[in-house]
Symmetry: C2
Amino acid sequence: MPVDYLIGVDLGGTKIHTALATGNGDIVAETRIPTKTARGSAFVIGQIAATVRQLLKQVGVSPASIKVIALGSPGPLDISRGVIQFSPNLHWHDVPVKLLLEEQLSIKVIIDNDANAAALGEYMFGAGKGTKNMVYITVSTGVGGGLILGGQLYHGSSDGAGEIGHTIVLPDGPLCNCGARGCLEALSSGTAIAREARCLVNRGGGKNILNRAGGDPGEINSVVVAAAAAEGDPEAALIIDQASRYLGIGVANVINLLNPDMVVLGGGVMEIGEPVWRGIRQEVQSRAFQPSRERAQIVPAALGQRSGVIGAIALAMQ
Amino acid sequence: MPVDYLIGVDLGGTKIHTALATGNGDIVAETRIPTKTARGSAFVIGQIAATVRQLLKQVGVSPASIKVIALGSPGPLDISRGVIQFSPNLHWHDVPVKLLLEEQLSIKVIIDNDANAAALGEYMFGAGKGTKNMVYITVSTGVGGGLILGGQLYHGSSDGAGEIGHTIVLPDGPLCNCGARGCLEALSSGTAIAREARCLVNRGGGKNILNRAGGDPGEINSVVVAAAAAEGDPEAALIIDQASRYLGIGVANVINLLNPDMVVLGGGVMEIGEPVWRGIRQEVQSRAFQPSRERAQIVPAALGQRSGVIGAIALAMQ
């Protein structure tokens, strides 16, 4: 009897991370290549197909042994039709990635939102193992999320669920990329942290932050702000604290609404560490209902930068 | 073969509404009596048992034909143990209502949160028939909610899910009964509307509102404010508009997080009508993601004051 294998692909604007795994999710081989975004969607899909063929060859597995290729992609997606409707990082519009890959590889392809894939990865192989209702939040350039409810990925009615980054936590707050004001993403993302620091510099403050950015306001990012805060700069510490507190409000809101047993937080901003966790804990403590708050463990993601590809493998196992 | 019957009980601080229904939910008989809250929990549980016996006698049905009694109650509850942990309206603490009723009636008893019961009632018999993911929000003295996800009542990990009234929509907003600031309930409930109007009167404004309350600030409630607004009083209209807009933010947040196919809004404040709907629509339009917003119908509850008892029958059918 031939062994069944699975392939997971984490498709991002800068890299394509592909893994070949056994049916129970053990990764046998993986590869990471830069996404040639500028060459357009047909070229990038060709990159994925070539990578898959190369992995199969490398391990000596025939395409017929691959049950499914699962691809995690930034959304919005039409999951059932396998179409990437819009991807700002890839500059794609309505790309039928499932169809195109299936034509090239003759292997079944499924797709899902990258945050959903990462949520499922944490649930099956990471911090959320053994939970039943788990909320995954990733805080980096943007703020994304995925919901595991009753042990299953919850997609909502048109594959749009989990957009915790676009829940409003400050109605008159800063404008978000989505067009609304005061979204969690506009207050707690790495982009929001950098924006606040640049505002401060524009007002004549933020000397330490600016120095760390080599004197160029355009070089200010959340890593620079966090480093200044870690050195004791009170202005930088305040910016990190504010962003963390709004994140805590977002976490309190999902605890009160969804009463999960776990909230998993990942992404680059969480790597700032204790100053961010402190703000989250304080807001959750003062704003979430006691019984639901006591039920919900709030923990760091366990899979780090491999969450995307491990999540894609988890998707393939569904 | 004996026909199976079900009993639903809507236990409130002012009335106990009980119905006897066939197995497919057709109500055969119902009764509503005042809750003798002051006499304590044992007395009130005796009232429920007496009402059930009376209904059985009236219809000529034996207790053995009753499959289950489902009781909807204000929470927090321990649903699996059948314990009302705390009910501010009934002044109950840790009352094992399931055990006590089962002892008196020898019929299986299940309990659930009253907002969950109403959500299930709307889903099975009201506005939400045929939906898959439905968010129910009731706006009256407080703001409650219930979630139907994948066609099932979603309870969360410790029966605490659905507390949309205690999601934060204005971090530095007014203090809520729950102890947190800026909960939806503290901004959009009937209580919040009355509080804003009393604040206005205390500052020397709100003449029309005060007149409508017979000159007594203690008599100001949301009905009085809505009536003044309907007569063209701009101060009252502003208060209703503000409350509606926060409600719209709460609705936008559940749309972005849960991508439901329907949001059902009920409760006394919704009876104010168009001024409240207008505020909700405007905020949802400007703050919810287009695809999820277009997927979600936002509609009034269909069951009105009978939502509690019909919801309890729906619970009994599960």
